[in-house]
Subunit: 153 residues, 2 copies
Amino acid sequence: MSGLVHFEDVEVGQTQRFGRYEVSKEEIIEYARQFDPQPFHVDEEAAGRSMFGGLIASGWHTCAMFIRMICDHALPGAATAGALGFDDLKWLKPVRPGDVLSVETRVKERIESPSRHAVGTVKIESRVLNQRGELVLSLVGISMYRRRQEGAA
Amino acid sequence: MSGLVHFEDVEVGQTQRFGRYEVSKEEIIEYARQFDPQPFHVDEEAAGRSMFGGLIASGWHTCAMFIRMICDHALPGAATAGALGFDDLKWLKPVRPGDVLSVETRVKERIESPSRHAVGTVKIESRVLNQRGELVLSLVGISMYRRRQEGAA
């Protein structure tokens, strides 16, 4: 149908690297005021006195930055049909103002659906790294990919 | 020390119900424009033509609403020392404008740390429900709780 990656094109072990997300103090505070107003996310002084020694992004904000990079770089080329959820999410290092994040993905598992012939399930391990190559977030996403030929066995 | 729930106070099976989050169209679009600009999250017309039949919140936005309810209702009473990550996150039903969400939690596991005596690890299963009692999101959070007496065996 198109150059999009369909379920048939997915192979375990395929990798991608993409994205560049610059983390600002203003965005950390704005996100956290709305959704995760803990002192070390919203208050620079309190954050300085905390175990983190300074302002850090909400872990859920880091997830949001990750999905923005997925939207910009990975989804446009993929015949996805929705995300079901994820497993094994780990916040491994704090994300701080000035950090620049990027993503590495690796196809971990490819599962034929016994009941749904138009789609298959793909598990993709994603790693979010900072500018020093340190792993800050890892997770395994579970998504559906469309098949090229709907109704194929 | 205080009335806060410390690691020693946590028991498997403890439950809590709390929160009331009213989901607005404006907030769905605002979040998604920033972090997850897929058509069914940002464009009412395109969403109407999609498999969802109307605008739905980004799954990550639903997570953000969840953490806001956790911040407002669960964290103030708990001696937590940070979240490590999550397992088994499932987006089970779309969240739509006008929905009103709430949270149910249940302590699933309580793990003594062999190396860190000041904290213990707690796994809490959380469920986010809409106003019809339908489950829209479930996940298992992995957090650290402080012990009442630091250094206790």
